[in-house]
């Protein structure tokens, strides 16, 4: 970590007017002009900073408490994930996908596996599809809990974080039960899932969901409608819908700006066309449409929707049956030539996987469209003009995971 700090590129000097007398009144001799401007301060936020959510570095130019310019700097967690995809076989690559967005590893597994299945033309059994859906939606809840909990921390509320983690812990227990890991699951495999749902798993999920919705109400009382929290987040970091589209935002950040766009609804994958669920969007309830509070609120609502989807998937889950497609093993040696792109709705937006196969055991090119990467790009457009405290609130509301930004 220390190396990455010293290796960081020097900050460019902020642009300042060359001639300090440029603003002097006409007809006045320049030497009587008194320059009373305060000095602009250049400050380095991250990569070691409590609220940059990992190793993001934002170079800030500030005038007192006001941010005049922001320059996000990424790459501290680059691990050549795409290049590795060209060197290991399709099956061996699944665990690497866990490590992009480590808070939503199930979703990454799914995106990659769907892309391989599309290229290899594999048929996934129905039971496996349902188990995938349940796992992915539980993972989405866990990821959103982390997002809203740490968002509380960003604006200075410590306790909601623990409440969110208490629920997240329960989900991690359920996911650990089915695949043995709490964070990097490697559960969704090419052609199906790693193993069938253990006995009692589904019943435990239902028990958890019953409790969970009440706990969300509690969370709303503690944080969502807290007056100080609303003051800190409403009307802050407003992203108009045109800007959101121009910067390629997806996921809750786009929906927070009011566009009802969700890949589960627009381009259903898995079995999402069989479930009834709403796509919550921001409405500017507490302030302007597209502010930090709206993005936060969309996440809160999405957790309830995910719970709904989970219930329906459990109700429809077929008894018994295969959980793995046939003819998967040959992928370790050869695949069909071709290419394919699959985009799924990750908790952070559109997670896309583009794969080119030349027929060998590994891909010719794997390319990841990481939602956090695109969402992050809007920072330098919306940070200038806000205050230092707002900057923290905005970065938190974008909800980035650096593992996915840097890959």
């Amino acid at each position: 970590m220390a190396d990455s700090v010293t290796a960081a590129a020097p900050l460019p000097t902020p642009s300042r007017p060359a001639d300090p007398t440029a603003g002097a009144a006409p007809g006045r001799p320049p030497d009587t002009f008194v320059d009373v401007r305060t000095q602009e301060l250049q400050i380095n936020m991250g990569p070691q900073h409590p609220s940059t959510h990992g190793v993001l570095r934002v170079a800030l130019w500030v005038d007192g408490e006001i941010v005049t310019r922001a320059d996000p700097d990424i790459g501290y967690l680059h691990r050549c994930a795409e290049k590795i995809g060209e060197n290991v076989s399709y099956i061996m690559y699944v665990p690497y996908t866990d490590r992009y967005d480590y808070l939503a590893a199930m979703n990454n597994n799914l995106g990659y596996c769907l892309a391989v299945e599309k290229v290899a033309e594999l048929e996934v059994p129905e039971r496996a599809q349902y188990i995938r859906t349940i796992a992915v939606e539980l993972n989405r809840i866990a990821s959103h809990l982390m997002a809203v909990g740490t968002y509380g921390l960003d604006v200075g509320a410590f306790t909601p974080f623990f409440y969110a983690f208490r629920e997240r812990e329960e989900i991690l227990r359920l996911l650990e039960w089915i695949c043995g890991a709490r964070l990097t699951y490697n559960f969704i495999r090419i052609g199906g899932v790693m193993r069938d749902a253990p006995e009692g798993w589904v019943a435990d999920i239902l028990k958890f969901l019953d409790d969970f919705e009440r706990k969300l109400d509690e969370f709303d009382d503690l944080l969502t409608h807290n007056h100080i929290f609303v003051q800190r987040t409403a009307d802050v970091g407003v992203i108009p819908i045109e800007k959101a589209l121009a910067y390629g935002l997806t996921g809750p950040n786009l929906r927070g700006s009011g566009l009802r766009y969700d890949l589960r609804r627009e381009a259903p994958y898995l079995l999402y066309d069989r479930f009834e669920f709403d796509v919550p969007v921001g409405t500017g309830m507490k302030g302007t449409l597209g502010d930090c509070w709206d993005r936060y609120w969309v996440r809160m609502l999405e957790m309830r929707e995910s719970a709904r989807i989970c219930r329906q998937a459990i109700a429809q889950l077929p008894e018994g049956g295969e959980i793995m497609a046939k003819n998967v093993r040959h992928l370790a040696f050869k695949s069909k030539p071709g290419e394919g792109y699959v985009g799924i709705e990750n908790p952070r937006g559109e997670f896309g996987y583009y794969l080119i196969s030349e027929g060998g055991s590994s891909s010719y090119r794997s390319r990841i469209r990481a939602p956090s990467f695109c969402n992050l790009s809007i920072l330098d457009a919306i940070l200038p003009g806000t205050m230092l405290g707002d900057a923290v609130a905005i970065i938190g509301s974008i909800d980035i995971v650096l593992g996915e930004v840097d890959r």
Partner: protein, 371 residues
């Protein structure tokens, strides 16, 4: 010290002078001991309180109920390396924690714990406490400036702005009860609150004429609320913890400090929490009297000890409320803190002060014509 000089003129007077010096040293030692024990207890209480709010256990292993955890932490801090950043202003950096601590520490001298337990009985006690606690900000400013760290500087500047803004409403709010009692002596202010309803009454328990000042009139109640809110800001507690706002400024002004020097800032914070709570208790909540409208008159060491326990219990309760707020509320933004101080607290206090002055002039306590 001027008073010491005539004492030295004769042997007899020299003896009394040394007794005075001895009592002075003894009271300083007592205050130091009290502040240290208090800080350890308060840290433990904070950790237990936050654990209760956050569905955790808090410290459990070191000592009964984890009570000795603070001692263990203190030892750990004492043995840590005393780091001084190379590019810092060394002298200011080293002296800043002591100055920050001095302000809060000196205030203890003027706090009466019971009718007889007080290091010094100052006629201007309340004024002294308000003035001396403001000294701490100089230490914080020095720490922030000398650290040669931009985040520290931010913390120090925020602290200075915040303290200067909130001294005004808190001092104005304290003026309201002073207006009623006509005294700045903390003992006399408590004495006003437990004055008997008829002067001739005697006995251990009697009805008080005025009762606690917080309940004395609507305007003193408003003053109490304003003082409590402003005092949160003065001791940098949430939701006004901007000088050390962790998510924004890493650790604010004490980012670069380690070991014992860091612990002095820590001590200062907890000492300040006690001081502001103690002032609130003494001025608004009847000091060492356990009940609002019924007062006790107990003499002797036992009576004084009982009063001191009551006083401490009230202080701990107010400190606990500070902790409760801290672990419940998010943090305000820096401009919102200023808006709160200048646009709401100061006008409200000025209004309360004016109305209280008029009421005191007419000799009424509540709403004329209604109560």
């Amino acid at each position: 010290m001027d008073t010491l000089v005539p004492h030295l003129q004769s042997a007899w007077q020299w003896a009394t002078g040394s007794a005075f010096a001895f009592s002075l040293v003894l009271s300083i030692l007592l205050v130091v001991a009290f502040v240290s024990v208090w800080a350890m207890f308060a840290v433990w209480l904070e950790r237990k309180a936050s654990a209760d709010f956050q569905v955790r256990l808090g410290p459990v292993y070191v000592g009964p109920f984890g009570l000795l955890q603070s001692l263990a932490d203190g030892l750990k801090l004492a043995f840590k390396e005393d780091l001084v950043p190379r590019e810092s202003d060394r002298f200011l950096f080293l002296i800043a924690p002591a100055i920050a601590f001095c302000g809060a520490f000196a205030a203890f001298a003027a706090l009466p714990f019971s009718p007889a337990f007080a290091a010094v009985d100052l006629d201007l006690g309340l004024f002294f406490v308000v003035a001396i606690t403001a000294v701490g900000v100089i230490g914080v400013l020095m720490a922030g400036w000398s650290s040669n760290n931009k985040w520290s500087l931010y913390g120090a500047m925020r602290e200075a702005a915040q303290l200067v803004s909130y001294e005004v409403p808190s001092a104005l709010a304290l003026m309201v009860p002073v207006l009623v009692t006509g005294s700045l002596n903390l003992k006399e202010i408590v004495g006003f609150q437990c004055a008997p309803i008829d002067a001739g009454s005697s006995g251990a328990i009697y009805l008080s004429a005025n009762g606690w000042l917080a309940l004395y009139s609507p305007w003193t109640f408003v003053a109490f609320l304003v003082y409590y809110v402003a005092s949160l800001a003065e001791c940098k507690r949430a939701p006004f913890d901007l000088p050390e706002a962790e998510s924004e400024l890493v650790s604010g002004f004490h980012t670069e400090y380690s070991g014992l020097r860091f612990s002095f800032f820590f001590l200062e914070e907890y000492a300040m929490m006690f001081v502001v709570s103690a002032v609130a208790v003494l001025v608004f909540l009847g000091g060492w009297q356990p009940l609002p409208f019924v007062s006790l008159d107990l003499g002797g060491a036992a009576g004084n000890a009982f009063f001191a326990v009551v006083f401490l219990a009230k202080c701990i309760l107010l400190v606990w409320v500070q902790m409760w707020l801290r672990w419940t509320l998010p943090r305000l933004r820096v401009d919102q803190v200023m808006v709160m101080g200048y646009k709401y607290l100061i006008p409200v206090t000025l209004g309360a002060l004016l109305l209280m002055a008029l009421y005191a002039h007419w000799g009424v306590r509540y709403i004329p014509g209604i109560v």
